[in-house]
């Protein structure tokens, strides 16, 4: 936390090195979040790109009130949602799943390192987006329901419901996988 404060402090004073360190520190986590929300590595890269460019534009005025990681995660979630809105998510899910599960990605491209994660991402992509977002932000990135409620502009009860419904659907899907 203190390290982040110092990095933000230096970033605000125009330090490229501070920006680089912030990026290095959180890029994998944020890419993971973006991939989980979009089920598309290429789209995820664009999301993280946009978030960091936008963050860089706040130099000199960026005001960190909480955790930098939570802030950036929220930005990624917002941006991913915007991107997803412009895509017919249902139709693209299968295509995207194929893309993420392919292993033809070279070192110059980002890559999901774990097969089980790929399966989970595939399953998450079949959930309604809001439910997927709650589950990923809460379980993978530690955001509290209150914060996610603010992000989705709904009540905390709605968030908890989305979380429960999402988990139930995942359980059903996994049940189907097992039976298959």
């Amino acid at each position: 936390m203190l390290e982040d404060k110092i990095l933000v402090f230096r970033f605000n004073r125009g330090s490229k090195e501070a920006l680089r360190r912030i990026y290095e520190k959180y890029k994998d986590d944020l890419l993971g979040l973006a991939v989980a929300l979009s089920n598309d590595v290429s789209l995820a890269e664009d999301v993280v790109h946009d978030v960091f460019v936008s963050f860089a534009q706040s130099v000199g005025t960026f005001n960190l009130t909480g955790s930098l990681k939570s802030y950036l995660s929220t930005c990624v979630a917002n941006r991913a949602r915007d991107r997803n809105r412009s895509i017919n998510r249902t139709d693209s899910a299968l295509e995207a799943a194929d893309e993420t599960s392919s292993d033809i990605i070279g070192p110059e491209r980002s890559a999901i390192c774990n097969e089980e994660s790929k399966l989970l991402i595939n399953l998450l992509s079949k959930l309604p987006y809001d439910q997927c977002e709650v589950i990923v932000l809460h379980l993978h990135h530690g955001l509290k329901f209150r914060r996610i409620a603010k992000l989705q502009s709904v009540s905390i009860n709605t968030i908890q419901s989305r979380y429960r419904y999402g988990l139930d659907k995942l359980r059903c899907m996994l049940d189907g996988e097992v039976k298959t």
Binding site: L2, K5, V8, F9, N12, R13, G14, S15, K16, L19, R20, Y23, K27, D28, L31, G32, V35, A36, V41, E45, V48, H49, F52, V53, S54, F55, A56, Q57, S58, V59, G60, F62, N63, L64, T65, I105, G106, P107, E108, R109, S110, A111, I112, C113, N114, E116, S117, L119, L120, I121, I135, L139, H140, L167, L170, R171, L174, D175, E177, V178
Partner: protein
């Protein structure tokens, strides 16, 4: 796939780990750096015409503005005195020539990564300095130096403790009264600096051709953070070009620009006040086009605003910071932070932390101008406390242990330092009392 008993754990354990590719790293970082640079350039455009930056005049910020220029000039001269290769006789001549100089004019280009600017400066016999900000090299908006209105003029009268800033374009004048500074000096006979500089050493670095003329070149490495090069005309013994390169000193790299605007207090004006000092990034100041002893019109140095200008006056406390200032700064901090001391002393200069506290304290839905003024006064006080701590830190006898200490805990030291020529340590405790200790205070849990 086995159906998990605990679906939450199942999901948690499968958090995707994505390794970013080299291409995306480069693309994101390159684009981010470009965006950052563009923003900083844009801010430079916005800030320059309304320049009202108040530079704290103390030892910490002595490289700023006029003082900085004076240092450059006399540092350049100083080298001659301590040269080890037989140029010491030249020093006396240069010193003599400078002491007889009545006026000086020169051009200065200051280049930084975040932006550059050019000024034309002149100093009269009384030591009053007039500086004209011509244009910002990195901002096309100010590239038209032919427009006589597209400039900012600052007149520094240190003897009267006043500096006047004029913005001809919008006919505004800002007068700053520097309270607590009574110096009867003239810039060209500022022997105080000689007494400091005489202890330093410089190196004769041979001869260079500058604008077709042979000059003597002298280099002075003033520690690892400042390097000054002066080219001197052997015929007149006066500098024709001086270049100073400053790098951020990590120990002093904690005095950023703190700025706060009317908008922060519900106002609609863009009026912004900022305070800053020190060197936060590498900067190169190059002084050229020296003209010595030219006749200068005294009206150019008047600190009375021209007719037709809207005038705004400010008062700036420029007394040297002391331990009381540090206590006041810590007192404000604890008051606004639920009794907790800052995690680090540098937090006192962190805009991200200080600004919200100022707004919290002074934004009461009253007149924005009044609230802004109060906040700025408090901002000065906080920075004075920080500057005091910085001085102790630079002197090498400073410690801060306030992280986690709560206001009122008289047993816990918050910070300590040892003044020059003192045998004991000064200690500020958690109840903001101050006392002496024979040794560095122990931190007890």
């Amino acid at each position: 796939v086995r159906l998990p008993e605990n679906i939450e754990r199942f999901i948690k354990n499968r958090k995707p780990h994505v390794a970013a590719g080299a291409d995306i790293d480069n693309r994101i970082l390159d684009d981010s750096f470009a965006a950052m640079a563009a923003t900083m350039r844009a801010k430079s455009v916005v800030n320059q015409p309304n320049i009202r930056r108040i530079i704290m005049k103390n030892r910490i910020t002595k490289l700023a503005a006029v003082a900085g220029i004076v240092i450059i000039v006399f540092f350049g001269l100083h080298h001659f005195g301590n040269s080890i290769d037989g140029t010491s006789t030249a020093f006396a001549d240069v010193l003599n020539a400078i002491s007889k100089a009545k006026t000086i004019s020169y051009k200065e280009v200051c280049e930084r990564e975040s932006g550059s600017y050019t000024t034309e400066n002149m100093v009269n016999e009384s030591g009053v300095m007039r500086s004209i900000l011509l244009h910002n090299l990195s901002t096309p908006k100010y590239s038209n130096s032919n427009d006589p209105n597209n400039v900012n003029i600052t007149i520094w009268d240190l003897a009267k403790c006043i500096f006047l800033q004029l913005s001809p374009k919008d006919k505004r004048a800002y007068i700053t009264h520097r309270v607590g500074e009574a110096r009867k000096i003239t810039l060209l006979n500022y022997v105080e600096w000689f007494s400091i500089l005489h202890e330093k050493s410089g190196t004769f670095a041979g001869q260079d051709e500058i604008d077709g003329k042979i000059t003597n070149k002298f280099i002075c490495d003033r520690g690892e953070f400042t390097k000054i090069t002066a080219w001197v005309d052997p015929a007149t013994n006066l500098p024709v070009r001086v270049e100073q390169v400053d790098l951020p000193n990590p120990k002093r790299d904690i005095s950023p620009l703190l700025s706060i605007s009317m908008r922060d207090f519900g106002g609609t004006s863009n009026s912004t006040l900022g305070i800053g000092g020190g060197i936060s990034e590498k900067q190169v100041q190059t002084m050229t086009d020296f003209v010595w002893n030219a006749e200068l019109d005294e009206s150019l140095f008047s600190v009375t605003p021209p007719e037709g200008y809207a005038v705004e006056e400010n008062y700036q406390d420029v007394t040297q910071p002391d331990e009381k200032d540090l206590i006041k700064a810590l007192s404000f901090w604890t008051e606004m932070s639920d009794g907790m001391f800052p995690d680090a002393i540098n937090d006192l200069g962190d805009p991200n932390q200080v600004k919200p506290l100022l707004i919290k304290k002074f934004h009461k839905d009253g007149p924005p101008k009044e609230e802004l003024d109060l906040a700025v006064q408090q901002m000065h006080k906080i920075l004075k406390g920080l500057y005091f701590a910085q001085e102790q830190k630079v002197n090498g006898s400073w410690g801060y242990t306030g992280n986690g200490v709560e206001l009122g805990d008289s047993a816990k030291p918050v910070c300590w330092w040892k003044a020059e020529n003192s045998k004991s340590y000064r200690v500020i405790y958690g109840n903001l009392s101050i006392g002496d200790a024979n040794s560095i205070p122990l931190i007890t849990e």
